[in-house]
Each structure stands twice: as C-alpha cells, then as structure tokens.
C-alpha cells in the first residue's frame, strides 16, 4: 500500500481501456489519458498492460510506501525521486517499506506522468473497470481524485518482486513527446459538404490549434476557428440558431471533435456521449493518447487526415508494443 502525502494537482487511479459498454447509458469510458505511458508502466512492473496505475496530471504527487514494492514512472518527466534521490523513468525500481516517492511538476514536454505498481492498484472494479470517471464521481478510488492521507492497497504481483526490479524499456519504443501533437483523424460525422465547407475542412486539417487552459479529462478546448469561411449552413436548422448546432445525436466517443460555436473541442475519456453540436472529425484511437500529454496553454494539436484502414492497422501495430520484446 501507499499513503498519499501530497495529492498534487490531479492524481487519479486509471486503467485501460476503461469502462466499456456503457456509452448508451451516458457513461464515459474514463481510463488513462495517455494509455501508452500507462501500458508501458505496467509492462515494466510485470502487470497486464491495462492494469490500474496512478495518473498524475501537472505534478507534485508525493507518497510513502507501506510495503516493499516495485514501481515504474513513465510519461512526462516530473523528476521522480525516492527519498530525495533522483530515480530513472521508463525503468522498474525497487521500493522498500518507508520509502517516499516525490514528483515535481511536468517537464519541458508533455503533461501527465504514470506510476505503475507490481500487482496494480487494488481498488474495486466498478462496471468492469478500476478507472476513475472524475465527472461522474464513480470508479477508481472513491470516485474522486486522491487526497492527502488516502491509503491505496496494491494487488498481488504474479511474479517475485526481486525478479522485476531493473527492467528497462528499449529506447526506440519510448514515445517521443512534442510541442505540436499530430493526431490522425477521420472526417465526420458532420462534415463537407453538408455542414462544413471544403475550405473549413482544409483549415481543420492544416491549422495547428493551441490547447486552451480550460482543457481537462472531459474535453480539450482548442483555439477558436477564425478568418475562414467554415460553416456550410447559415444556421443550425431545427438544432438551433448557430450553424454548429444540430439536433442532439450520439457522439463517436472518445475522440470526436465537437464544434461548439466557433470553438473546436476534442471530446476525450470523461466526455459526453451525446449532444447538440456537430462533430467534424474523429481522432483515431491509436493517437488519442497524445492529447492527454498536451500542455494546456502551451502545446498545439494538429489533425492529420487518416482512414479507417490506417486506424485499424495503427491499433494493431501499437498493441504489439506492450510485450517483453520491448524491454532491454
């Protein structure tokens, strides 16, 4: 178990792929915003890739371990330290009872760090997942972000802890982080020519959109669309007065790009499952993790045209990374 000393900006229990099968009841999938970093964190400590770990957004998390353990820290470089001694990222680390893990704030690139623990974080499954849905207040640890004093038990590791320490990822499989995140996306459901002009779609697929501070696990708000003839309609017809309005419909979640007025909003893992705004494109599942590493107010998102065939192939290729062959 670990006891939280400082919960940081926003630290959550998340697994992958989250809570599937309930979109029709209005329940978001939740899950790790950067599932690649979580899955590598789990691989390093000998867990199944989708096991629950800790997602640290922004930083400043600190905890004391109440048992011997093996952990890993992946994602953004928050300068992790054990008992004030720097420890490497993307490696498994042996922890002794009483050790204190401390993270600083997010690094030059990317925003979220992940802590994997051998055996996983032992919170109850709720509807098939250990993930916290922050905006639904369910799942994870009591349906909320962690607080000082919380005690999180660990599951039983399937391997001996001593055999898990010192495992390293190969350098070539460690994701590259960027200031401008390229997200492959497929047009639709509301696109050219009925809802958006061709010029508008070109704009969506060429412009680098700044990520706004008002982004969170529900949605990533991007800078406004301007200086372009974007909408193909004068108004939203029966859906409303603005051309971004449509009659309420289900969203292709997660990863749909809502157009709310003139603001593109990328709906992510805790996001809504339906609504009355048009969705101009959908980010492919394989690339959605990148937005979770986008630094609000600093980074940019750029959409790259893709196809369903490419999306399927990319998912298979990415899934193959989370195996022992990715370790040194």
């Amino acid at each position: 178990m670990l006891r939280v000393i400082n919960s940081g900006i926003e630290t959550l229990v998340e697994d992958w792929p989250g809570r599937l099968g309930y979109l029709g009841k209005g329940m978001a999938t939740a899950g790790a915003m950067d599932n690649v970093a979580l899955r590598f964190a789990n691989l390093l400590v000998g867990n199944p890739p989708g096991e629950a770990g800790l997602e640290v957004a922004g930083g400043y998390f600190e905890a004391e371990f109440g048992v011997d353990a093996v952990i890993s820290v992946t994602g953004t470089d928050m300068k992790p330290a054990i008992n004030n001694e720097a420890v490497p990222m993307w490696e498994s680390i042996k922890i002794s009872k009483g050790d204190i893990l401390k993270l600083s704030h997010f690094g030059e690139f990317s925003f979220r760090a992940y802590i994997g623990v051998a055996g996983g974080i032992d919170v109850p499954f709720y509807l098939g997942s250990k993930s916290t849905c922050l905006f639904g207040s369910y799942g994870g640890f009591e349906g909320r972000k962690l607080q000082r004093g919380d005690v999180l038990p660990f599951g039983r590791s399937s391997k001996e802890l001593d055999s898990l320490a010192g495992r390293k990822l190969k350098k070539e499989v460690i994701p590259e982080y960027a200031r401008e995140w390229h997200l492959r996306a497929i047009p639709g459901t509301n696109t050219s020519p009925d809802y958006v002009t061709e010029e508008g779609m070109d704009y969506l697929f060429t412009h680098a959109f700044k990520i706004l501070h008002t982004s969170n696990r529900s949605a990533y708000r991007l800078e406004e669309i301007k200086d372009v003839n974007f909408f193909a309609r004068k108004d939203g017809g029966d859906g409303g007065s603005h051309p971004s309005n449509i009659v309420d419909h289900a969203y292709a979640m997660p990863g749909a790009l809502n157009i709310c007025g003139n603001t593109p909003v990328l709906l992510v893992l805790d996001g809504p499952t339906l609504g009355g705004y048009m969705c101009a494109l959908s980010v492919i599942k394989t690339d959605l993790w990148k937005i979770g590493q986008g630094i609000p107010g600093k980074d940019f998102a750029k959409f790259i045209p893709s196809t369903q065939e490419e999306a399927v192939e990319a998912t298979q290729k990415q899934g193959a990374l989370f195996c022992e062959e990715s370790l040194e």
Partner: protein
C-alpha cells in the same frame, strides 16, 4: 531580503488574494490559478510582507511565472 512567489501550474489567474502591504503567513493562499477548470491555490512558502503584486485577473501563467514579491525582512 525578498522572495518571489511563482505560479506552480500553467493557467489563468482567477483571483489575487494578497494585497500590497499585507503580512503573509507561511501556508497562506495568495492567489488562485484556473487550470483544467480547477481552481488551484497558490500557497506562500514564506512569511513576509507583500511588497509587490505582479499579476491581475486573467493574466496567463506558466510554471515559474512570478506572481508576488514578498519582503522577508519585515517579518515580525
């Protein structure tokens, strides 16, 4: 002796709580930053008198942006 209180997160200044000339205790909230639609308190690590407030509401902060200068020499 002076100390600067810096932003610990990127975001927009939601409120400035401290005012110039005010005596600040260690652990006191001096400002609030809005990030990820959360209000994050900026806490003083020092005890001292507010010499200068460098920010106002809606100013954009990055990690490390200076927000408030404290005069530590006037601690009573």
């Amino acid at each position: 002796m002076e100390a600067t209180i810096n932003a610990h997160m990127p975001g927009l200044v939601a409120r400035v709580v401290a005012i110039e000339g005010e005596q600040i205790a260690k652990g006191q909230t001096v400002a609030v930053i809005n990030c990820m639609k959360n209000e994050l308190a900026v806490i003083s690590e020092y005890e001292g008198k507010v010499k200068q407030v460098l920010v106002k509401e809606w100013d954009e902060m990055d990690v490390g942006s200076p927000m408030i200068i404290l005069d530590l020499g006037e601690v009573k």
